[in-house]
Amino acid sequence: MFTKRRVVRFAFAAALIALVEAWIFSNVRAEFRSIVNSSQMRSVAVTAESFSALAPAEISSWLERLNRQGASYRLAWIDGIPEEGQALPATGDADLVRLYRDSVRDPEFLKGFDNVAYEERYRGAKIWSLGDVPYSLIFAPAPESPKAEPPRGEGVLLFAFDLAEQRSFERLLVVLLGAAFCVAVLVLWQVQFSRDPIVGFAVTGLFLMSLVFVAYPLFESARLSFVQEGKLTFQIWKTILTSRGYQAALKGSIRLGFWTATFSTLTGFLFAFVCSRTNARFRSFIAVMGTLPVISPPFSLTLSVILLFGNNGLITRWLGVTNFSIYGLRGLVLAQTMGMFPVAFLTLSGVLDAIDSTFEDAALDLSAGRWKTFTSVTLPLAFPGLLSAWLLVFTNSLADFANPLILSGDFRVLSLESYLEVTGMNRLGHGAALSLLLLMPTLSAFLAQRFWVGRRSYVTVTGKPSGRVTELTTPAVRFALLSLISLVVVFLLALYGTIVAGCFVKNWGIDYSFSLANIGEALTRGRDALFDTVTLAAAATPLAGVVAMIAALVIVRKKFHGKRLLEMLIMTPFALPGTLVGISYILAFNKPPLILVGTAAIIVINYAVRELPVGVEGGVASLRQIDPSIEEAATDLGADSATVFRTIVLPLVRPAFLSSLSYTFVRSMTAVSAVIFLISARWYHLTVLIYNFSENLRFGLASVLSTALIVIVFGVFGLMRLLIRKNENLAKSVGA
């Protein structure tokens, strides 16, 4: 590969690019400096002009005013033109005057005064520092005014212009050109030395993407939590770790997570057990009900909890309770459990389905009773699954932001606290630190689930599904279990029903008469947001889907250095709380070299990057089942990597691709925690609008928009299920 000719060609091209960039750099810098110079000279001229009109008594107050007003320069006036290191009286900016006293004999100053003596302005070539900030000096003649009383001779106006702006512009230029150079060299490298440049480009692109949109924002938020007023300090962390308020929020998050995880795991296990270990009827209906809340938009369940149990809620009023408030820990646990028990249900039904029921048969056969069998066989086998489900829900609950936002009341949790720091008090550093603090329990639960519990699973893969499941419950027990499930299901349906009912009611809590006014108003006021939401989600969906499949292909099939690192970077956003992602993004992208805040791009990128891990996992799993020789056969017949991807890989992983698409779309439609930081007047999100309506107690409007969102999301999900089902024949033949 590294033939002499290629190396020479590469070196030559790289040198050429470097040369062109150096040329661009020097030109742009010279142009910028000349613009700065002429504008500074103009303000020097204007200032000198107004100086000449001054009476001697006014001079010092004039100088003081100018310096205090924070003009773009600092100014001092020297009475007379010093010769050969003469120290003449000077007034004006104290630092500047001191500088003059200290360096009257400096050749630069001598030269400056010389020029002034000939009525010329002079810009010093040296850079001086005043209080650690770099300045450049301009010496200008201060016109004499013989008519003044007493008459004033010629003097010197000493201007000091701040160089910081120019410096930061030049630094930006260097960063941009440097980045362009790196990218160009990488591309050249691939073209010259890689057998498969397309894969090289894909890997380079994925690395760039994950470095810029995952690593860089995280690094920025970590960095800013150590910086206050431009200085490195532990002050923010000290405040956060010692202040009672923040400690309460941390404790609150963990308490909420604990209870939600416990209740969700119990409910999930109940559902999963009935579905996979009994012959109860309506099992498929139960499974659907146990999955539904996963894709329901944020706020929807919370909203109906408020509509039912809020201060003016239907049930609160009906029962006539007055000293009860749903706002706080109880309400949050209720809303989160209803929204998150499906996570536990899906995990546990996977685990229970995979545990061969012959173990239970064996126990029954050894004449253990049913209860004994359950406690001594089923439960221990499912234990890693239970723990895993608990940890997953715990992570979800901690990262949850939508429910606390409208239901927390006085109860404090970290995710909400960091949002309030950023939006309420504009303390970005504090917000970043708080969400980083939230990352600790989230990340440790996530890692524990992944690497510790995940490996202890007792899932038994025999390949042979054992036909009928032995009934483990007596009819009485089954009746009890089913009643419990019915309770949950009825409650869930009531919650959904409440939202729909909310659309048609004039003013919930006060006036329950039928009305369509809310629908009209909500759709008018929400039309733009609805349009934005769908547009943004639709833009992010193909992006995330295609990138996910490319990443999966590269990870499964290609060999390259840094694969583990790339995999880790891509998967990271999965474990990050949305608030952290949102805060990191505004911290990283509201300044050069990448200013994205306020654009649609930042929202789309945020969606794509956050939903990528799930798509990649799906793609990886489905690619691992496909014989690599299928792709090799295509390559061998003359297809390059891009063609193989388009004509072979993408059609073969279609189910994974479609579900990645639908997942991204649904998640983007229902996003809130990160996107709430990134929306702007131009690009709004429906969920935020729902939040705003419910904040203002316009529950009718919020209900209409929630219903609209639910309809869209369920519609897309149903469509996707239909498309995937059509593909089942294919999936079978690929496996064979």
Binding site: M1, T3, D627, S629, E632, A633, A634, T635, L637
Partner: protein, 361 residues
Amino acid sequence: MRSKSVRLENITKVFKDPQSGQNVPAVEDVSFEIAPGELVTLLGPSGCGKTTVLRMLSGFEPPTSGRILIGEQDVTNIPPNKRDTAMVFQSYGLFPHMNVFDNVAYGLKLRKVPRPAVQEKVMRFLEMVGLSALAKRPPSRLSGGQQQRVALVRSLIVEPSVLLLDEPLSNLDALLREQMRVEIRRLQRSLSITAMYVTHDRIEAMSLSDRIIVMKAGKIVQIGTPSEIYRDPVDTFVAGFVGKVAFFPCTVASVAEFCRVEVRGQNFDVPKWSEGLKARDEALVMCRPESLSLGNPGEGIEDGVVTANVYLGNSVESWVKSDQGDVLAQIDNPDMKKIWKEGEPVSLTFQPELAKVLKKS
């Protein structure tokens, strides 16, 4: 078709063990040449590096060092999709989302062949293997042999300079394997295409090849025609790998026009012997089953007891348990000869003209 020669020069491939990070040589200093239109088989036990050689030839693995030439062109650094080779995979690698026609047409479409020409050529090639009636079927609804034929035709239709076959018959049952062997040979001959065939099945190698390359532990042990490999193996490994064989210890008496050896007090003149053998060396006489015959105990070079007789019609295979292990003797035209019963003591004799004297290894 343009058939081209293939040349490998000092090819070495070193893999890095992902666990230990150590370098593991898979192929060491392999050089050989295939003439245009020739079918050469790489034969060896699994893990000997034969598939790696094939994958380097097709471009899927870049060699660590050495050069690969197809015709006059150095293709060492050319990626597989730009190489004029076509590979038939062990698991066929048929595209499951395309029907038979589209599978076969894939390579032509990539080469921007106009649609009517594609149609015509695909049907002609499918006709050649008797599959034109199944053009619209998905691969999952074909039998193993049919899938194999589709894979073969899909590779042949792009008219490659070199056809590469990676154990293409290992997934078929015995009967089908024999049919496909004939079919592959017929197609390769009629298109006079240069081909490299990888297998660990000696019968496949013997029946298909113009020449066989025997590999062991990443190195070439012997290159030769099937009969050279069978009759004149370089060492006991090759002798044992390409067919049933028995070895009898002997002492070299003299080496001249023949290699005269003494086995159990009797002298034999053997026409083939390993290079470097000289008088008074301890060596082995290699005998194939068809060169062995049975006689009364004490008469031959080795005594033993018949443990089993397998009647095959045109021959009987008699297994004799002796001090040299279980020896197989093949007796042709069994219905005209004496067959020793199971349990009877016998002695073994051999025909020196068909034997070879090998160094002890």
